[in-house]
C-alpha cells in the first residue's frame, strides 16, 4: 500500500567489482535487475521505500579507473565516480572549468557531495514528488501524470519539452556540462561509445521512464571536457528555495568567449526548466558578436523563454529564467 511508510533497506544483493571488466560483465548479465550504485544518494530512498525493486546493486566506486581528474591532449577527463567534493576542490577543474567546480559545490549538502559522484548527479532520477512517492505515474510505467493538471502540485515542474511527464532535470552539474560541451564516455561489455552531454539526456517524448540514453548494461564511466571552453568566462547561478539540499527552481550555466566587451561565442544552458538541461541556442545566436549591454541581456532573456508552456503553479519560472539569462549575459 502506497501510503505506508517503508524505511528499512530490503534484501538485495551487492556486488563490489574491483575492476572494469567485472563491473561491465555484471552490468550486462544483470541488465535491468542490476542497479548501478555510485555514491548511492539517489539509491537508498528508492530501495527503502520499496518503490524500485532491483535484485542487486553493482557498486562502481571500488574501481580506480573510473575515479579522479586527469589531463588529456584534448582537455580533461573526469571519472564518473569522482565525488562532487573532489570536483569542487580539484585544482585543474577549478582553474580551467570553474563553471563545473561551482555547480558541483552547490549540490545538495556537504555530506551528500562527499559521497555523491558526478555520474550519480548526472544520472539521478526525476525529483517529481508524485513519482518519488511511488505512484504509478507515466514515469513509473503508468498511464497518468498527477502533476500536470489544474490542481497538481507542479511548482517545480517543466516549462518546456513536456510530453505527458512534466518532471525536470534536477541535476546541477548537467547544465554545466552541456554549456562546457562535454562528452560522455559510456562503456559496456561490448565496448565504449561517446555521446555529447547534450544528447546524453533524453526527454519524455522519446523515453518516458529513463532520463538518459544509457542502455541496459551500459555504464557512464567518464566525462571529457574539451579545451575549447577551458578558461572561458563563465556564469553559474542556482536559485532554490533553501540554500542547502534543495533542487534548483531554475539554474543557469553559461560560458563565454569574449574579446573586450564583445561576445564572440557562448554556450548557455538552463537546468530545472525541462526534463533535460535546456541548451539555449537561440540566445547564443542572438548574442554572438554583440556587445554586452543591458538591452542585449533583456532581449536574450525574452528569447530564452520563447515557447515556454507554464503549468498552473510554475509561471514564476518564466521571469526567473529570463532574469538568470540576463544576469549571465550582463556578466
Amino acid at each position: 500500500m502506497v501510503a505506508t511508510s517503508h524505511d528499512v533497506m530490503p534484501d538485495i544483493e551487492l556486488y563490489q567489482p574491483a575492476d572494469e571488466a567485472t563491473a561491465l560483465d555484471l552490468a550486462a548479465r544483470l541488465g535491468n535487475e542490476g542497479w548501478l550504485l555510485s555514491g548511492g544518494q539517489d539509491t537508498y530512498g528508492w530501495l527503502k521505500d520499496r518503490n524500485k525493486t532491483p535484485s542487486a546493486m553493482i557498486e562502481l566506486t571500488q574501481i580506480d579507473a573510473w575515479k579522479g581528474v586527469k589531463e588529456t591532449s584534448t582537455g580533461i577527463e573526469i571519472g564518473a565516480t569522482t565525488t562532487l567534493t573532489e570536483i569542487a576542490n580539484d585544482p585543474l577543474v577549478k582553474s580551467r572549468y570553474g563553471l563545473l567546480a561551482k555547480a558541483a559545490s552547490v549540490v545538495a549538502s556537504p555530506q551528500i557531495r562527499n559521497v555523491g559522484t558526478l555520474g550519480g548527479n548526472l544520472n539521478q532520477d526525476a525529483r517529481c514528488w508524485y513519482y518519488r512517492r511511488g505512484l504509478d505515474c507515466y514515469r513509473a510505467g503508468g498511464n497518468i501524470c498527477y502533476a500536470d493538471s489544474p490542481e497538481g502540485l507542479n511548482r517545480e515542474h517543466a516549462l518546456f519539452g513536456a510530453s505527458r511527464c512534466v518532471a525536470v532535470s534536477p541535476s546541477d552539474t548537467a547544465p554545466a556540462l552541456v554549456a562546457l560541451d562535454a562528452t560522455m564516455v559510456i562503456s559496456s561489455s561490448s565496448g565504449q561509445r561517446t555521446v555529447s552531454a547534450q544528447d546524453y539526456f533524453v526527454g519524455p517524448d522519446r523515453d518516458i521512464v529513463n532520463m538518459t540514453g544509457l542502455n541496459e548494461g551500459e555504464i557512464l564511466t567518464a566525462v571529457r571536457l574539451p579545451n575549447t571552453w577551458a578558461n572561458a568566462e563563465f556564469y553559474w547561478e542556482k536559485v532554490a528555495d533553501r540554500n542547502v539540499w534543495d533542487f534548483a527552481l531554475v539554474s543557469i550555466a553559461a560560458v563565454f568567449r569574449a574579446s573586450g566587451n564583445t561576445i564572440e561565442d557562448s554556450r548557455v544552458a538552463c537546468g530545472a526548466v525541462e526534463c533535460v538541461p535546456r541548451r539555449l541556442e537561440s540566445v547564443e545566436d542572438a548574442i554572438r558578436g554583440q556587445q554586452r549591454s543591458e538591452a542585449l541581456a533583456s532581449n536574450a532573456g525574452a528569447i530564452a523563454t520563447d515557447g515556454a508552456r507554464p503549468l498552473n503553479y510554475n509561471h514564476f519560472k518564466v521571469p526567473l529564467m529570463q532574469n538568470l539569462v540576463k544576469r549571465a549575459i550582463r556578466g
Partner: protein, 195 residues
C-alpha cells in the same frame, strides 16, 4: 512490477527467439556456489573508533544500522534516514558522511569515527565537545552528535575556519531547535581551544 521490465523482457524474448529472459534470482541458483567475483562477504572487520570489530553485515545494510543496532553505538541518530537532516553524520577517513545513506560494505575499508570515539583515553572531551558544552550549543540534542562530527571533520581539514566557512561546512546538518548560531559559537570556540 515495473511494466517497463516486462517490456524489456519481451524485447529480449523476441531477440532470443522466444527464450524467456532469466531473472537474477534464477541466475544465482543456476550458478550456485560459483558466485561471480565482486560478490560481498557478510562477515567483515570494521575499523570503528580506532578498534577493529568483526561484524556480520547484510549486503544492503546502511552504516547507521550497523553502528546503532549491531555495534550499540546509539550516539549516531536517525532523524530522517534519508540524508535530509544530518543527525547520523559520522566521519569516514575524516570525511563527514551520512551514515544513513551509505552502505556499511561501501565504507568497510575506511576509518569510521562516531561521536562515541572522540573523547580522549582519560575521558576528556574533544575540544569540539568541550566548546559545545561551554557555549551551550545543543538544545534538544538530537542533532548534536551529527553537528559534533561535522565540526570535527571541518576542524581537521581547516583548523582555523572563519565563521562563514564554518557555516558552509556545517550546512548539511539540520537543527530543528534552530540552534545554528550556538553551534557556530561552539565551532569558533573550539578553534580557540585547539589553539
Amino acid at each position: 512490477m515495473n511494466p517497463q521490465l516486462t517490456r524489456r523482457r519481451f524485447i529480449k524474448g523476441v531477440i532470443a527467439s522466444g527464450a524467456a529472459a532469466t531473472t537474477t534470482g534464477a541466475w544465482y541458483s543456476a550458478t550456485g556456489q560459483d558466485r561471480p567475483s565482486g560478490f560481498v562477504e557478510r562477515l567483515i572487520r570494521l575499523n570503528v573508533n580506532g578498534q577493529t570489530r568483526s561484524v556480520d553485515v547484510e549486503p544492503q545494510e546502511t552504516l547507521a544500522s550497523t553502528l546503532r543496532y549491531k555495534l550499540g553505538l546509539t550516539g549516531t541518530k536517525l532523524g530522517c534516514n534519508r540524508g535530509e537532516c544530518g543527525a547520523c553524520t559520522v566521519l569516514v577517513d575524516d570525511t563527514p558522511t551520512y551514515a544513513c545513506s551509505v552502505l556499511t560494505h561501501s565504507m568497510k575499508k575506511g576509518r569510521i569515527e562516531t561521536v562515541e570515539g572522540l573523547e580522549s583515553a582519560n575521558g576528556d572531551l574533544h575540544p569540539v565537545q568541550q566548546a559545545f558544552v561551554e557555549e551551550l550549543s545543543p538544545q534538544c540534542g538530537y542533532c548534536t552528535p551529527g553537528q559534533v562530527m561535522s565540526a570535527v571533520g571541518l576542524l581537521r581539514a581547516n583548523p582555523n575556519p572563519t565563521r562563514e566557512e564554518a557555516r558552509l561546512a556545517m550546512a548539511g546538518n539540520i537543527c530543528r531547535c534552530g540552534s545554528y548560531d550556538s553551534y557556530l559559537d561552539g565551532v569558533m570556540r573550539a578553534t580557540e581551544l585547539i589553539g
